[in-house]
Symmetry: C2
Subunit: 315 residues, 2 copies
């Protein structure tokens, strides 16, 4: 039975990954400091004998080393991160600690204890203001957010550990992901705003920004598929939804699905929501498609399904 | 009079840059912790009234902030780094501290004190095992040394500070540089070995690795030219020598120029000297050439001149 450590395992994507790994028959250690992760995301797993929750911060080096020493992990899925781009703009040191340094700590622990396989959750934000259709070999990499910079710095360290220390690493760069258990993002923000002011929904920007969205279940499938397919020391994959969905469409879907379907949608104007947000963006996903990956839902269907699931399960 | 801070200013390249900036009429603050830098590299500047030497480690945050507060710098040339790729392989945390964290500290100090311009010394090692002819927009960036990973991480942070905090930054990626005051590298190693065993020179590998070398004076000219040409928040340039020179040629030039011209050259065999060393490599330098830069000496002339200057000035 494969023993897997999932960092950030009580978070949005991490908790869905734990579900899928348990379904596969893995022994799952879910590590989380519960800063963004939530115990309710994994409450349904409490009675599963192959599921182990560890409340630990990755920067607590001694605790991390003890955890690695006590269990012979076969693989690490490293998802722990500050996933909120805006928070990293307000505090320039935050992403360096939570995205970059945590990755270095995981890599060092893996090296010290001979763990051979890593999947690292990266991001389209490593590219900055890119205009061309981006594949895994594209450059330049000139991030415009502290989130993107810290993830690029982490990718650089994953690369050198993979190439020099015998680790096999998969780097998966994904764009916006939607689904139940999300802790932030446009859907979450809009639902929270509607709770406060049911008669109107204020949207930052002009609502014309459009991005491809992936439903979390399709992303988890991509993680498992690319993890299984590893051959070279370092394998990078892009994942993206089919089509794209504008902020305006998201607002309309949220209002239509909510209990406040007569709310007025108001736009503040301008072409983006905050500094560091990248307005347009396009991925070439032929590499992961060659492995057989296809999202079950296109971008707008993913958003619609996510809104429904979030309302059903509470937020 | 422009007030310029040169970090690593007592080092090999930094001390040559200080010379050139003083010749331009700048007021120069030379900061160095003297770990790799040497006082003898700047001893000839001690009596120059516009030259100021500060012995300080960039990781001493309070001292750095006091330095920035006391002087209104117009620009920083950030060269301080562990420039020894091999040392970074032995101690995986070394380059993170000396190359990445020092850069973050410099960026934060610049932000806190409103310093508007940066030149950052980066490296071809950000690319890893690249095969194509690399221009400034090339990818992927998959470093195979801790040196390259730490410099890529630093570039990522230069990018985000430049794009979000109003800084104008030039990133200059240069390959191997030769000249007097060098503290390591093939020429230095070979001369040191010949001092110990004048009758023979042992060379790691088969001596067939070939790289383009630039004489330090041509690199300093490239730094000043690209610094002056800045327009966008972030400008990246590649610099490389014309032609290339094999390790075998370097060994032969060193032996021929030295006092031990009858020494036997012996090769240990294999295609590279140490893990993380990149055997072959090619830069597209059309971007810097469009600014008018041309090296005065091609690669082998640069090596020959460097060997002569090193022997003349002592090592």
């Amino acid at each position: 039975m494969m023993k897997v450590l999932v960092t950030g395992g009580a978070g949005f994507i991490g908790s869905h990954l734990c579900d899928a790994l348990l379904e596969r028959g893995c022994d799952v250690w879910c590590l989380d400091n519960l800063w963004l992760g939530r115990e309710r995301n994994i409450a349904h797993l409490a009675a599963v004998p192959t599921f182990h929750f560890i409340k630990l911060d990755l920067l607590e080096r001694d605790g991390l080393r003890r955890l690695f020493a006590a269990n012979g992990f076969d693989a690490v899925f490293h998802l722990a991160a500050n996933s909120d781009i805006r928070a990293g703009t307000a505090d320039t040191g935050l992403d360096q600690k939570l995205n970059f340094q945590t990755t270095v700590e995981v890599l060092e622990a893996m090296r010290a204890h001979g763990v051979p396989r890593l999947l690292f959750a990266s991001t389209s934000a490593v590219f900055g203001e890119a205009e061309a259709r981006l594949n895994e070999a594209s450059g330049p990499l000139q991030p415009i957010s502290f989130y993107g910079a810290s993830k690029l710095a982490a990718e650089a360290y994953v690369s050198v550990y993979a190439h020099t220390l015998g680790l096999k690493a998969t780097v998966l760069r994904f764009p916006n992901v939607v689904g139940e258990r999300a802790t932030h993002g446009a859907i979450y923000d809009f639902l929270a705003k509607l709770e406060k002011t049911p008669e109107r929904l204020e949207v930052l920007g002009n609502g014309l920004q459009s991005k491809p969205y992936v439903y979390v279940g399709d992303l988890v499938a991509a993680m498992l598929l690319t993890f299984d397919a590893r051959k070279d020391p370092l394998e990078v994959y892009h994942v993206a939804g089919e089509g794209s969905t504008s902020v305006r469409q998201i607002a309309e879907i949220v209002v239509a699905q909510s209990a406040h379907r007569h709310a007025r949608i108001e736009y503040t104007g301008g072409d983006r929501g905050w500094p560091g947000d990248v307005p347009t963006f396009s991925y070439d996903t032929s590499r992961i498609r060659a492995l057989g990956w296809r999202p079950q839902r296109d971008s707008t269907a993913a958003v619609t399904h996510a809104v429904r699931r979030i309302i059903e399960t509470g937020f």
